[in-house]
Amino acid sequence: MPFKKPSILPGFWPALSYTILYLSLIVLIPLSAVFLKSLTTSWSHLWKVVSSPEVVASYRLSFGASLVAGMISVVIGFLVAWVLVRYQFPGKALADALVDLPFALPTAVAGIALTSLYTENGWLGRYLAPLGIKVAFTPLGVIVALTFIGLPFVVRSVQPVLADADAELEEAASSLGANRWQVFRLVIFPLVRPALLTGFALAFARALGEYGSVIFIAGNMPMKTEITPLLIVTKLEQYDYAGATAIAAVMLTASFLMLLGINALERRTRKFMVTG
């Protein structure tokens, strides 16, 4: 097979060469620096950095909080998508537009806003404090920030699938005697499950690397509320480039695996949407 199918349209080679050149200069070559730099450090030193107690504690927090936040996003995101697709209510267009706010709001702004809401005399924190629930400067705060970031991913993944869902499937199920709950559980839910999974994966991947919205509300206490990206910054500030790079290599590997997984998931969802 030849490299390219013949076409009368002009500009293939200039466009492709420019794309590859720009992609290499801005993205690929600088990214490769992380791995090449890691290779110049000895394995034992690398291992010592990425398995030190402080770093391992940060993996646990980053992973755990991203997982929990992803799951909360799935529940709330599905609810919001359902309501936006299925029901009519005043202000619906506004609610729909607001779902994207976490995409548009700079993370540092989200960070200080969430912190001020959840500190002990904040609008929400003052009602939670008497119940013994502390959010700001605890792992719970990290989860809150990551849920804020993750929510739109789930809503925007589920919404189109739910909107495209064929009414006939539900009608058929109910004419065969299924009640509303059974229709939801056995017909609607399996239909949106791939989209929910994609939304979760996107939210989770974004949460793993998130920095701006978390560092204000986390309080950054060593071993307790330090996320992995913060440790990279801390190492950089101490001019420990090898250490920062080693942790970055671990994070990059995790994000690439996520990216591949998400691409596979999205392909499956799309196939599902076409056939189903």
Binding site: F3, K4, K5, S7, I8, L9, P10, G11, F12, A15, L16, Y18, T19, Y22, L23, I26, V27, P30, L31, V34, I76, L79, V80, R86, Y87, A93, A95, A97, L98, D100, L101, A104, L105, P106, T107, A108, V109, I112, A113, L114, S116, W123, L124, E168, E170, E171, S175, G209, Y211, P229, I232, V233, L236, Y241, A244, M251, L252, S255, L259, N263
Partner: protein, 290 residues
């Protein structure tokens, strides 16, 4: 008779889906209330709190915080970084989308995946990679030092980091759009004797204009708001290498909360405008598609 029966039957079948797909009012209102409560708590409240805190010390204090020289210089730097990185990514986005959507070639899917990489990389790592290339200890550090060129902890680094994090936005908007439009119109223009550029400016560009604008809006919003990546390469020199989001952090860490929220409110206004524009352009692209 027969037609009346037919009409009746039709009426019945068309009435069925509505009643089956419609949940009982209690469920409907309950779920709507829950969803709106969740949106209110997680999304509206943080937005409202920014403006309330910004104005906590009154309008004059708010205006003073915004007119402060360091804030103004942060505004200028943020606009500069966005002003350079957005056009770069627009040119790239158009070139990439043209190559990927109008031609069939091997390795296309790999290329599309590679374009998405910056979305998958943590902002902190996005900054770090440029420190590893251009920093004092980095690949080019020695050479840059000898020639007295500063990239890291200076404006060029901020522009590079901003370009990296906003890299896929335009391409990502254009690729599905141009894919769906196919190549028929361009081919017709060429057979009728148009030159390559004539075809591009008269056919392709008008066809993608709303999608392109949509990509530019998203790209600009992110460029103005990027925090993590820029924070790593900036060096946080007040009045020199401080963008708006970094300035928010500095003020906040100095316990100047009303100042921090005043600057944050500027960024929030941009975010809200972005959402409004997004809604408008989304509607426009849909209108263009049908």
């Amino acid at each position: 008779m027969a037609t009346a029966a037919f009409e009746l039957a039709q009426k019945r079948t068309s009435a069925v889906p509505r009643s089956i797909r419609r949940d009982p009012p209690l469920v409907r209102w309950g779920l709507t209330a829950l969803a709106l409560l969740a949106l209110g708590m997680f999304i509206v409240l943080p937005l409202v709190t920014v403006f309330v805190q910004a104005l906590a010390k009154g309008v004059p204090a708010y205006l003073a915080a915004i007119r402060e020289p360091d804030t103004l210089s942060a505004i200028r730097l943020s606009l500069l970084a966005a002003g350079i990185s957005v056009p770069l990514n627009v040119v790239f986005g158009i070139a990439a989308a043209w190559a990927v959507t109008k031609f069939q070639f091997r390795g296309k899917n790999v290329l599309v995946t590679l374009i998405d990489i910056p979305f998958a990389v943590s902002p902190v790592v996005s900054g770090l990679i440029y420190v590893l290339v251009f920093g004092a200890q980095g690949w080019l550090g020695q050479w840059l030092g000898d020639h007295d060129i500063r990239i890291i902890f200076a404006v060029p680094g901020i522009i590079l980091a901003t370009t990296f994090v906003t890299f896929p936005f335009v391409a990502r908007e254009l690729i599905p759009l141009m894919q769906s439009q196919g190549t028929d119109e361009e081919e017709a223009a060429l057979t009728l004797g148009a030159s390559g550029w004539q075809m591009f400016f008269r056919i392709t560009l008008p066809n993608i204009r709303w999608g392109l604008l949509y990509g530019v809006v998203l790209c600009t919003a992110r460029a103005l708001g990027e925090f993590g990546a820029v924070s790593v390469v900036s060096g946080h020199i007040r009045g020199q290498t401080n963008t708006l989001p970094l300035h928010v952090e500095i003020l906040y860490n100095e316990y100047n909360y009303s100042g921090a929220f005043a600057v944050a409110s500027l960024l929030s206004v941009i975010a809200v405008l972005t959402l409004a524009l997004k809604k408008f352009l989304h509607w426009k692209t849909k209108e263009g598609a049908t």
